[in-house]
């Protein structure tokens, strides 16, 4: 804690620095949010485990769910976590171009993941006859993966906001995530309409490419992020890694065990 912060604390004021995360209060806020969010997932996973334990008719997941496809999706999220840490490393070096490039790759990974999830859901509903109301397996599967999918969607929007802010401050932080949200929804609709995983990947690539282009078109000569000021990138990265971490658990408990 800095001298100024200590001095303020001695006079009975709130410390200017977060005691746990001296970089910013925002980072501590994100950690607290993630802890709360982890409880949401924890509750869902615990409920899933309890329902499954007591139901002898529970189907073996590998006989219904496509393990290979989901393994690819898992690998994709792990790759997107790596591109996210590379984005953070880039801005810590003051390299704005590489920050934007790696943010684009991360957004691209998220959108492809969602496209493949839409494909998987449609396959399960239309070809396998699964639904949220059919049995406990369907209910828990669609709620768990759907809740996680919402987090990925939120992550794509959050990272797009960071990309937009890196590109053109507040204007970019508003315009780029709106474009990203609309294109992600478009990807989901196209994938569902065509029932093709490859079309899902293609539309996600086009969608994320358009997001990157919009950010490039808006690009101002200077960025709000630098080697000395990049807290928001780190906070966004925390969220994205959390989404990856949760998927690792969902993949194991829902698809493999």
């Amino acid at each position: 804690m800095s001298h100024a912060a200590v001095a303020e604390h001695e006079f009975g004021l709130e410390p200017a620095e977060s005691p746990l995360t001296p970089e910013s209060w925002g980072k501590l806020g994100m950690w607290v949010f993630l802890a709360a969010d982890a409880m949401s997932f924890g509750g869902l996973l615990a409920g899933y485990g309890a329902l499954r334990y007591g139901d002898p008719t529970w189907p073996r997941p590998s006989t219904i769910l496509g393990i290979q496809l989901t393994a690819v999706m898992t690998f994709l999220l792990i790759c997107s976590s790596v591109t996210m840490v590379e984005a953070l490393a880039a801005i810590r070096r003051g390299d704005r171009d590489r920050l934007e490039w790696f943010l684009f790759l991360t957004i691209c990974g998220g959108m492809i993941f969602l496209g493949l999830q839409a494909f998987e859901w449609n396959k399960l509903i239309l070809r396998e006859g699964q639904s949220i109301s059919r049995n406990n397996f369907g209910a828990t599967f669609f709620i768990l993966t759907g809740f996680h999918g919402c987090h990925v969607f939120g992550g794509v929007c959050l990272l797009s906001a960071i990309l937009g802010r890196a590109s053109r401050g507040v204007t970019g932080a508003i315009v780029v995530p709106i474009v990203a949200a609309l294109l992600t929804i478009g990807t989901l609709v196209i994938t569902s309409a065509t029932l093709s995983g490859l079309v899902g990947i293609g539309s996600a690539l086009v969608g994320s490419g358009l997001v990157y282009m919009v950010a490039k078109l808006l690009r101002a000569p200077t960025s709000v992020y630098s080697a000395h000021s990049n807290n928001e990138v780190e906070i966004g990265a925390l969220y994205w890694h959390f989404v990856d971490l949760i998927w690792i658990l969902v993949f194991t408990f829902v698809y493999l065990v």
């Binding site: 982890a38 329902l51 007591g54 002898p56 080697a227 807290n231 890694h241």
Partner: protein
């Protein structure tokens, strides 16, 4: 704001790649384990262990928890412990109810007449 030296960043980037390699390897091992000719309970145990290892790698190195203050690690770990507690709290209750429901024989039609 902590400023990282180029050497620190380069070292971190090497570590990220090592973690990425481990995550990829562990995911491949998970896929291999589910087809292993061993008891289901052993497969389940191994998968849980592998998932916990992968989650710990992401939290410690990608989320930089290993470099943060220990109190923050406790905050992050608490939901995991509570989740385990929740599972064991729910199992006897919900498990029994579900078992009863799935095994319940429908009441005879004459009972309502």
């Amino acid at each position: 704001m902590t400023v990282h030296t180029p050497e620190q960043i380069a070292k971190e980037e090497r570590r990220y790649m090592q973690v990425f390699a481990w995550l990829a390897i562990l995911t491949a091992v998970e896929l291999g384990v589910i087809y292993a000719p061993i008891a289901r309970i052993a497969i389940g145990g191994m998968l849980v262990l592998l998932a916990a290892t992968k989650a710990a790698l992401v939290a410690m190195f990608f989320m930089h928890l290993s470099a943060e203050k220990r109190t923050l690690a406790y905050i992050a770990l608490t939901p995991a412990l509570l989740c385990v507690l929740l599972v064991f709290a729910l199992l006897p209750d919900l498990g029994a109810i579900t078992r009863a429901l799935t095994h319940a024989t429908p009441p005879p039609a004459t009972a309502h007449e």
